[in-house]
């Protein structure tokens, strides 16, 4: 039982960490598709 609960916790922690890491990589369309000539 203990290993199962630890496993669930580990899953949630890894998933949350991944979520935070990905949100830093996430680019909105206006940033991704703009050139130097654009003033947003």
């Amino acid at each position: 039982m203990k290993s199962f609960l630890l496993a669930c916790m580990a899953a949630v922690i890894i998933a949350t960490a991944a979520g935070f890491a990905l949100s830093t990589v996430q680019k909105p369309a206006d940033a991704a598709y703009s050139t130097t000539g654009v003033r947003l």
């Binding site: 996430q26 680019k27 909105p28 369309a29 206006d30 940033a31 654009v38 947003l40």
Partner: protein
């Protein structure tokens, strides 16, 4: 009832992008979202052709078919619209669309790509016609006011036609007959053994 269609007359399109600008301005489309775009084939070479392309409002819309949450619907005018409230941003409609019409506010598909946005034929969305809520999500609803899409209205050469399919076809047929060749329209070569390069 009218069956709404777009037709871009590739012989008249001069790649001025007035249609793109009109659409962006009218619906306050954010930067990075391209509801309408002008594609130029054989750019710089003799015989270059430009076509303005947005959502084609298909009869059996592939976007609607693959949407996992069924957020698309077709109006009585055969305009294909969708609900941004139901959209989960999975990106499948873009994989199915032959014309690349769906646009997303986020680049990565982490959880969601954001709410899909696309050409609405200036017909808004499921919210009540002409309301602020509808405008913020989908842009202006010109069809509800009895007007046609602004891209076609603003076209400088009247190459982009939008409206009742029968009337659009009639206009194009007049042009084609007057020109005497098919502008690459499908079937012309089969029927008349004539192609644009002859």
């Amino acid at each position: 009832m009218a069956r709404m269609k777009f037709l871009c007359d590739a012989d008249r399109c001069i790649e001025c992008n007035a249609c793109v600008t009109a659409c962006k301005n009218e619906h306050e489309v954010p930067w990075g979202i391209n509801r309408r775009r002008v594609v130029t084939i054989n750019d710089g070479k003799p015989g270059e052709r430009s076509i303005s392309m947005a959502c084609m409002h298909c009869t059996d819309a592939p976007c609607a078919a693959v949407c996992p949450v069924n957020c698309f619907y077709t109006t009585a005018d055969a305009v294909v619209l969708h609900s941004k409230d139901l959209c989960i941003g999975c990106g499948y409609c873009f994989y199915a669309c032959p014309f690349g019409a769906p646009q997303y506010p986020k680049v990565g598909n982490f959880g969601s790509r954001g709410k899909m946005d696309k050409c609405t034929f200036c017909a808004g969305g499921p919210e009540a016609d002409g309301t602020q809520a509808e405008y913020e999500k989908y842009g202006s609803n010109r069809l509800a006011e009895g007007k046609l899409p602004l891209c076609a209205e603003m076209c400088s050469t009247k190459s982009l036609l939008a409206g009742d399919g029968d009337i659009v076809a009639q206009i194009y047929k007049e042009r084609v007959t007057r020109r005497g060749y098919g502008s690459g329209a499908w079937g012309w070569q089969t029927a008349y053994r004539e192609t644009i390069a002859s």
